[in-house]
């Protein structure tokens, strides 16, 4: 077996193990015949949503890292996830305040991804417009940090305003805190086509992204329509981030950790890296979700806590390495 075959074997085994644990681990007794069916059904939907969110975040990570030629980029670090969250909160508030009575037949689950999508798209577009072409890593990261802070502040402000209405306040808080524990078939049914179609279409841009690794001038000289490539990659990365945020909230670092962990085994070519990241993201977030159920805490641990505990140290290591190698300029 060559290295790529070994990588895929490990990925499939890891996903299989995470899926199995996801069914077995958790509150409730599976040996109880009366409960078993319900527990397995709930865990199956939770698993489906977790896998979709993990795939979407890892796929979005690969795309933005290719777009910015920067392995330190990810939807959470660039403020894309925060933008999607703000978009979701804004839609919830507007919907409940202005439109819900007139368009009551539309379920909130349907409009939430639309808000997340617009928020994520605007966030990435603002980042690109502010940093311009050929910006340094420091500029991109700092701008992402500032945008992320701004969006989170605005989201908090909206959350405070929404507290006036109990129902709305509860919905906004639940969405902002995130988590996959209460997600069911509706969420999965909405997210699945978004993630599946976007991932497939984004794969078609793999060669463009490979060429963009050499910079925009070289890519264009070899025939890449750079403007179109940037525009579409933003659309695909935003869509994947929005789908993930709509399912699980602002779960950080998946888009950073998974591509980074896989690249030494798959190499940097996107047509190989992207599908591996989709499977790896599903396995990683599922494993993180299982871990949230195993930690000895009094209450439920948010999914983002586990991904943050793994992702933040890795990000610091990458940052230190980039600084040491003089790649920050």
């Amino acid at each position: 077996m060559n290295r790529l075959q070994v990588t895929w074997t490990v990925l499939v085994l890891a996903l299989g193990a995470a899926v199995t644990l996801s069914f077995v681990v958790g509150e409730g007794d599976l040996s109880d015949d009366a409960l078993r069916g319900t527990l397995l059904r709930l865990r199956a939907w939770r698993l489906a949503n977790t896998m979709l969110a993990g795939s979407a975040l890892a796929g979005a990570g690969v795309l933005v890292q290719g777009l910015f030629r920067n392995p330190l980029a990810s939807p959470s670090i660039l403020g894309t996830s925060a933008g999607a969250t703000l978009g979701g909160v804004l839609v919830l508030v507007l919907w409940n305040s202005l439109l819900a009575t007139r368009l009551a037949w539309i379920p909130p689950e349907l409009i939430l991804p639309a808000g997340c999508l617009i928020g994520a798209w605007l966030s990435l577009s603002i980042l690109l417009a502010v940093t311009g072409r050929g910006a340094s890593i420091v500029t991109v990261l700092l701008t992402g940090f500032i945008l992320s802070s701004l969006f989170l502040s605005l989201g908090s402000l909206l959350m405070s305003l929404a507290q006036n209405t109990w129902e709305l306040g509860r919905a906004v808080v639940a969405f902002t805190l995130g988590g996959v524990d209460a997600k069911g078939p509706r969420h999965a049914a909405l997210a699945f086509p978004l993630v599946a179609v976007t991932s497939c279409v984004a794969m078609g841009w793999s060669r463009h992204l490979d060429l963009l690794l050499s910079g925009e001038e070289e890519a264009q000289s070899l025939g890449v329509d750079v403007t179109a490539a940037r525009r579409w990659v933003i659309v695909w990365a935003s869509t994947l981030t929005a789908a993930a945020v709509a399912i699980g909230g602002n779960v950080a670092f998946v888009g950073l950790v998974v591509p980074h962990a896989l690249r030494p085994f798959t190499g940097p070519e996107h047509r190989v890296l992207t599908p591996a990241a989709l499977v790896g993201g599903a396995a990683f977030l599922t494993a993180a979700d299982v871990l949230t159920r195993l930690l000895p805490t009094a209450g439920t641990v948010p999914l983002g806590v586990v991904t943050g505990l793994v992702g933040a140290p890795l990000f610091l290591i990458l940052l230190a390495r980039a600084s040491r190698e003089g790649r920050m300029a």
Binding site: R69, M203, G204, S206, R207, D210, L211, L213, S214, G215, E217, E218, Q220, S221, L222, G223, V224, D225, V226, G267, P268, E269, R271, R327
Partner: protein, 257 residues
């Protein structure tokens, strides 16, 4: 007159800044090497980028009479191959993958290289004398080797007009001479080569024609031996040529040191 690349009244600037290229006319005929000379900041690199379409420009760029203005990047890349001074690629792509990128303008979708594509890539690797490096990561190569990989990628596009930006600037004398040989072979096959060069002795060694730029305009153009003369060089560079002076080199027999 041979067919080839023709540039008429080309003007270029960066993002509405001052003009860097100011109305340049030049011809790079097939089967010739044309050198672009000029001091630092004279607009050589910008002129190449404007011809390839990487910076905004006005004027006419045509190939065998066909106006290249309005062609998509893909169509342009099928006709003109550009070799930058150095690549920004910092990912460890294998040399074969980098050279295969030269087939991008001719391919759609995610399918693997076809038999014809593979043949062209293999030939480009051989022409640039880097077939032995095919399975090495690009980032582990020396500057000279990377330059030849970029040349191979340009050759793999199938374009027979080659625009090169100071290809020997990061190379030692031996690698520079090897590159001269490669360019000589491409010229014999009928390629039109337009190359930015700093070293005037290099111009005399490989170029048939020369275009001397000064502040974005053409100061003089013609046969290389006529352009590299005091009457042209002194007013532009502020130096005098030492007749019969300087060092000359050639590859030893068999290409070994």
């Amino acid at each position: 007159m041979n067919a080839g690349l023709q540039v008429l009244g080309l003007r270029a600037s960066y993002r509405r800044g001052p003009e860097v290229v100011r109305g340049v006319d030049l011809t790079a005929a097939r089967g010739t090497i044309t050198a672009l000379l000029g001091p630092n900041g004279s607009g050589k690199s910008t002129l190449l980028k404007a011809i390839v379409g990487l910076v905004e420009s006005q004027g006419r760029v045509s190939l065998d009479g066909e106006d290249l203005h309005g062609l998509s990047p893909r169509e342009r890349a099928q006709r003109l191959a550009y070799v930058p001074q150095r690549s920004l690629l910092s990912a460890p792509l294998l040399v074969h993958a980098v050279v295969s990128q030269g087939r991008f303008p001719h391919r759609r979708g995610l399918a693997d290289l076809g038999a014809e594509d593979r043949r062209i890539v293999d030939r480009a690797l051989q022409d640039a004398d880097i077939a032995h490096l095919a399975c090495r990561p690009f980032t582990e190569l020396s500057g000279g080797e990377q330059q030849r990989v970029l040349l191979a990628r340009a050759l793999a596009t199938g374009a027979d007009v080659l625009l090169m930006d100071e290809p020997t600037s990061a190379q030692d004398v031996r690698h520079a001479l090897e590159l001269h040989e490669i360019l000589g072979r491409l010229r014999e096959r009928g390629a039109a080569i337009l190359v930015c060069l700093h070293d005037l002795s290099e111009v005399l060694a490989i170029a048939d024609q020369a275009v001397l730029l000064e502040c974005g305009s053409v100061h003089a153009s013609g046969p290389a031996a006529e352009i590299v003369q005091d009457r042209h060089i002194t007013p532009v560079y502020g130096v005098e040529l030492i007749q019969g002076g300087g060092l000359g080199f050639r590859l030893t027999a068999g290409g070994e040191e």
